[in-house]
Amino acid sequence: MTTAETTHDHHDEGSYLTPKYGVMGTIWDWMTTVDHKKIGVMYLFAVLFMFFLGGVAALAVRLELLEPVRVAADGTITGQLFGPANPESIATGNNIFNRLFTLHGAIMVFMFIIPSVPAALGNFFLPLMLGAKDVAFPRLNLFSWYIYVVGSLFGVFSIILGGVDTGWTFYTPYSTTTDADHWRVLLMVLAAFVLGFSSILTGLNFIVTTHKLRAPGMGWFDMPLFIWAIYATSIIQVLATPVIGITLLLLIFERLFKVGIFDPALGGDPVLYQHFFWFYSHPVVYVMILPGMGIISEILSVHARKHIFGYRAIAFSSLGIAAVSFIVWGHHMFTAMGELASTIFSALTFLVAIPTAIKMFNWIATLYKGSIAINTPMLYALSFLFLFSIGGLTGLPLGALATDLHLHDSYFVVAHFHYTMMGGTVIAFLGGIHHWWPKMFGRMYNERAGMIGCVLVFIGFNLTFMTQFFLGTQGMPRRYASYIDEFQTLHVLSTYGSWILLAGFLVHLFNFIHSLVAGPKAPPNPWGGLTLEWETESPPIEHNFHHEVLVQHGPYDFDTVVPPHCDEREFPLPETPASH
């Protein structure tokens, strides 16, 4: 990679993190910034705060499930966590439980996992990896952050007012009839509606940036795979999110005015709502997972010092997943639809397995004969391969019509989507944060603490959710505050697992705080990466690069290129170029 002298030199610039105007001035500077890096960091802190809120709700749900709720012969109640211990309180306790799992789902889906990787890491690294100075529409970018904050405030406000018990999917008639004396369901629906706009604007910005602002010399197939993943994600965000907009708008009309579109009392059809909802929400599960897959492609090739295997296959499979995502939504509604539609959707659902498996095999082939560094990002990437495989394979019985009718709405489903969403996206997100932490904040973290945290998260996660597969096949339905005594052992194990998970996250949290306060200064390219973000300083300067970049090698040419800012002794080239 060489740099070309142009008129736009930025030699004497400091890091984007350097405060310039005193305390209030700096706050104002961040609040009005159009710098994609600052917006990315603001998104990162916002989504991590939401992750904390959703996580607290999840822990509370698991705590309630530690014991089944029982009324003994003498009237004493056991296992009731919420509400006073008298027989009348069971309904109250169940009501609180319903609100907690709705809160957990709504926050984790709309406010954490959808914006997590694209809006936080994507905002920070997409322009850097493309060699651009910023995203195409920087003001729109800031605007989308504010929309996100306003939407999240609506959601939090709705929780403060007492929360909603509709489930995160807002199915009618729950969402049109429950809590009829209050505005909070509307507030929560409005929150999801507003957050959708934030998602649309981010996706739109990324598509235009990818098309128009690639550095000179960077063709479509010279882009890092993270960009391909974000690009496919953005397509889904732009095409699917407007439909949730109109759906939630209709839901708001339905609740406020009773217009009857989803109401059988007026001739409407509640299952139509499910179609509308899943036309958005199924593609959106790929909004959640695709960026994670992009991160894994980056981490595996950099930390195994190996050219990614099957670059084009991985790139096209991202687009393939995006395309297929629009024709499989019905598998969420097998028990609600007629047989014809169910059969068609079931058959189409298996198409998703093809591009996903292509990615999985390519990642494993990338590791073959690589020089694998065992560090936190790599451990997370390996965890991803393991956990996401389980998540993906357990999707097959759920996509098959016959088995789904039995597993529908059971803990098997809960375990399946936690293995894909948490074992996939959250694990990849954590891996990505560790991978890019030195670049984002200019400090190294403690590798040993990071690896301990990763192992704890891995063990805790599997203990929490592996047990739920067994619970599900035995017949434990989701969204219940109580259960038969025979399930208790597995539920207890699952709850213990959630505590180990918490311990893992706390280790990471303290590691990050320690790194920010006292971590050693990070070199520009600690891992020997070849993508463009490693060309610049750590943390990057205000305008990203000192010179306009000119791309002269691929993002994964570890066989032939000495990484920028790196010593050849540290990252030696192979003796003879590997034959492909």
């Binding site: 009829a180 004396d181 009773k258 059988p264 001739g267 007629g338 205000e542």
Partner: protein
């Protein structure tokens, strides 16, 4: 130096029509669509608008004059084909897609493909609930069960909709009943009575049907294109209102629903395609009287 997107670079302002942005390299020039082209496109659009309206009026004329009822799908296909032509004209010329980068057209096509998927698969489900297994075939209550509306009366305090209790009737039937009662009361008042008797009720009902058909009498055409025996209102009317189809004048048996004997149109031919289970309760009049589907 602050990170500001307003650090602008000013191009050379000397205007050169072949290079309007004065950027030198890699410039392709923006297409300026000529005024006659725009005018021709406008005239074509107006022509197609007139055509689609004309065909629709023609359909009514054919129906009224020759009593030929064209199938429903013909209307949709013709109207939508003309709309697609108009939309293509607007997109290609007014919006400039024809002269623009291909990428913008591709975006539109991908977007339309998503729309097609959305419509197609949703329609597959809602149009074929009973097509595989008869178990799923249900007889819904036309007009809705009305049950949820009863709940609104006491439950919703934040909803802006009127809090009505329809007594488990569909809302159209409820409003009709309301009006009939109102007219009966009016008749009673006119005769100095407080409670309407049978005579008042009959007079109120006659007044109701007079208003009901007034619009159609004025326009001199029939009220329904899709006429079905089981809700034929013409049995109510004097001869000169009668439908051409004399067979339909046979009085059909009517349900006695909520005290509005003989005046409930709220049952229709049997329909499928609704959520199973949701329509089974409270649909006694529907299941009693729903005749099998019999178009024309």
């Amino acid at each position: 130096m602050s990170h500001s997107i307003d650090d602008v670079h000013i191009p050379n302002p000397d205007f050169d029509p072949t290079d309007p942005h004065a950027t030198g390299q890699g410039h392709h020039g923006h297409h300026i669509i000529s005024a006659p082209t725009l005018m021709i496109v406008l005239l074509l659009l107006l022509f197609f608008t007139a055509l689609t309206v004309g065909l629709s009026r023609g359909e009514v004329w054919v129906q009224d004059t020759f009593d030929i009822i064209l199938p429903n799908w013909l209307n949709i296909i013709i109207a939508m084909s003309i709309s697609v032509i108009k939309a293509t004209l607007v997109g290609a010329y007014f919006m400039g897609l024809r002269f623009d980068k291909a990428l913008n057209s591709i975006i539109m096509l991908v977007c339309l493909a998503a729309v097609v998927c959305f419509l197609f698969f949703t329609a597959i489900d809602l149009g074929n609930r009973d097509s595989v297994s008869a178990v799923r075939a249900t007889v819904p209550t036309p007009g809705g069960t009305g049950e949820g509306l009863d709940k609104t009366a006491d439950r919703f305090s934040t909803a802006l909709s009127p809090r009505i209790s329809t007594n488990r009737m569909p809302i159209t039937e409820f409003r009709r009943t309301e009006r009939l009662n109102e007219l009966a009361l009016k008749q009673a008042e006119d005769h100095g009575r407080i409670e309407p008797n049978d005579e008042d009720k009959a007079a109120g009902e006659a007044e109701f049907w007079r208003i009901y058909y007034q619009g159609y009498v004025d326009k001199g055409k029939h009220p329904h294109r899709h006429e079905h025996d089981e809700h034929n209102y013409f049995t109510k009317l004097p001869d000169h209102f009668a439908h051409h189809d004399d067979d339909a004048l046979e009085p059909v048996s009517r349900p006695d629903v909520a005290g509005v004997a003989d005046s409930s149109p709220n049952f229709s031919f049997r329909r499928t395609g609704k959520t199973p289970g949701l329509f089974s309760e409270g649909s006694e009049h529907a299941s009693d009287h729903a005749a099998p589907a019999s178009d024309h």
